[in-house]
């Protein structure tokens, strides 16, 4: 793997990304929406009538560290916690959008043959595309997280900030998030090398987001809450799946198939 070659692919992908309004829109809009939704939801909960005492007592029983909060803050903290998964969906969705367009876009413009006629290796080509898709997604997710953190302190209650920096949150946002991004981009690359429409690639690749959404639903239902160790374990497993998937992608991404069958 030659870093300058990989870097060349990354830079080119980003040049294209900033000029592709539709793709840029689909990369920038979700972080804005998914950052706003938790804050608005929690703000609405704050302005609602006082929560039932029994519910508050049940929540505090599960989170003794929240015992000093007002009933309203307890409810807000509980709601905020449900939105942790948003910061896993972002690094899952954005790379899928970028990677799906990336390969199918090359099919549509027939630009790949000239690239493959250079000394670039398949691994370098795919690594460049993967990095170009993951980095904006992870950065967007982290910036969204920091914005939510700041706005929580400013608009909701400073007492709620510790909820967002609990070890489980940090493990999810900073460890599992990038790993989910890797799996997502791998899925995007694998699927898009087999289809001719970016939307089809995104729809098929979006299957990998289902486990995250399922986790969100189960957590919201209150059945369980993952702790830091669980997130780190999930991150390690996801990372392994991503690396294996990327290696598989290098095998599946047949230069010959692409050149002789892409129309």
């Amino acid at each position: 793997m030659r870093p300058p070659i990989v870097a060349a692919v990354v830079v080119r992908e980003w040049w294209e990304l900033v000029r592709n309004r539709l793709l840029l829109f689909s990369v920038l809009l979700p972080p804005v929406i998914l950052s706003a939704v938790p804050l608005i939801s929690v703000k609405l909960a704050e302005s609602a009538e006082g929560p039932p005492r029994i519910a508050v007592a049940q929540i505090v029983a599960g989170h003794p560290q929240w015992a000093d909060m007002t009933p309203s803050q307890v409810v807000m903290a509980f709601l905020l916690q449900q939105f942790l998964m948003v910061f896993l969906i972002l690094p899952g969705y954005i790379p899928l959008a970028i990677a799906s367009y990336s390969i199918v876009g090359e099919k549509q413009t027939r630009s790949l043959e000239a690239v493959l006629a250079t000394p670039i290796r398949t691994g370098e080509f795919l690594a460049g595309k993967a990095i170009a898709a993951i980095v904006p997604a992870v950065v967007a997710a982290w910036i969204s997280y920091l914005i939510v953190l700041g706005l929580t302190a400013l608009l909701l209650a400073p007492r709620l900030v510790p909820v967002l920096v609990e070890p489980a949150w940090l493990g999810a946002v900073f460890a599992l998030g990038p790993a989910v991004g890797l799996v997502s981009v791998t899925a995007g690359l694998l699927v898009s090398s087999r289809v001719n429409d970016p939307r089809a690639a995104q729809q098929i690749g979006a299957v990998i987001l289902l486990p995250i959404i399922a986790m969100m639903v189960v957590q919201t239902a209150g059945n369980f809450l993952l702790d830091l160790n669980a997130y780190l374990l999930a991150a390690a497993a996801t990372l392994a799946v991503g690396i294996i998937g990327l290696r598989l992608g290098v095998i599946v991404f047949g230069r010959e198939t692409i050149l002789t069958r892409w129309k």
Binding site: P4, I5, A7, A8, V11, R12, W15, E16, R19, N20, T109, R110, S111, L112, E113, A114, V115, L116, A117, T118, P119, I120, R121, R255, E256, L259, T260
Partner: protein, 332 residues
Amino acid sequence: MGTGSTRQAAMVAAPTPGPMIRAEGLGRRFGDFWAIRGLDFTLARGEVFGLLGPNGAGKTTTVRLLTALIAPSEGRAFVAGFDVSTSPEDARSRIGLLTEAPGLYERLSARQNLEFFGRLHGLTADVRADRIERLLRLFDLWDRRDALAATFSKGMKQKLAIARALLHEPSVLFFDEPTSGLDPEAAFIVREAIATLKATGRTIVLCTHNLDEAERLCDRVAFLRGEILRIDSPARLRTSAGTTTIVVTLADGIAPEILGGLRSQPGVLGIDGTGDEVRISVRDARRDTPPLVRALADAGVDVLGISATQATLESVYFDVMGARPPADGGSS
């Protein structure tokens, strides 16, 4: 064009003297279908070699085999001394490829397109900047260097794609239909560029449907249809065809029985009569024309004019491919 860099030197292995391209029994099969088979030829440094044939004849497959984009099913190929099967990266570092479609990144500027390919070839920033400016100026694109490729005309895109193929100063160039779809002015510029490259000692493989272009640019051509049917210089191919077409313009047409009589004249290879014009293929125009004129006069046919057209690469092509050439002018 410019100086090399340490990094580039590291990526490009030493050249091997000898023919720039050598194909030995090269073939490629897709399933049970052989797209091309039995390719045997060598190309010298500075030679322009044309691949001619109908769609599906195996021209693009041949180019892809020689550019190490696809692997051969049988045989071997060497480009600049590198085996395309065992050293594909070395081979690719020595070739420049102009694909049938320009295949530019349309959301990138002309300069960014070249910048990207310069990086893939391991050129340093200084070398890249120098060569990009030189090539864009050469192809009259410098003033549009920061315009997106999407805004370019077809001719401009083709010129940019050629600049891309030349950026790393390859010793072997593959041009797949370089003037296809271009207006006459753009096609002229591209042909001039190819002639200039030939003069600088580059070996060029040219796939084209334009037989006139092949005749003007190529030192040798190969007629392909799943295999090489004929390979030689355009001049020798025309000479070896050894036919001349005598075009007789008539006042009132000609009766079928008279045409039949002409067919039996010595030296006549074929006759094609359409209304007031008869095209007669003969081996030797100087020897065979007078008896034909006499035969026409004896039969009472009113002749308005007679001209002779030499065999063209086009007529040779149609003979080799098994089809009659279309009517054309070019009297001598």
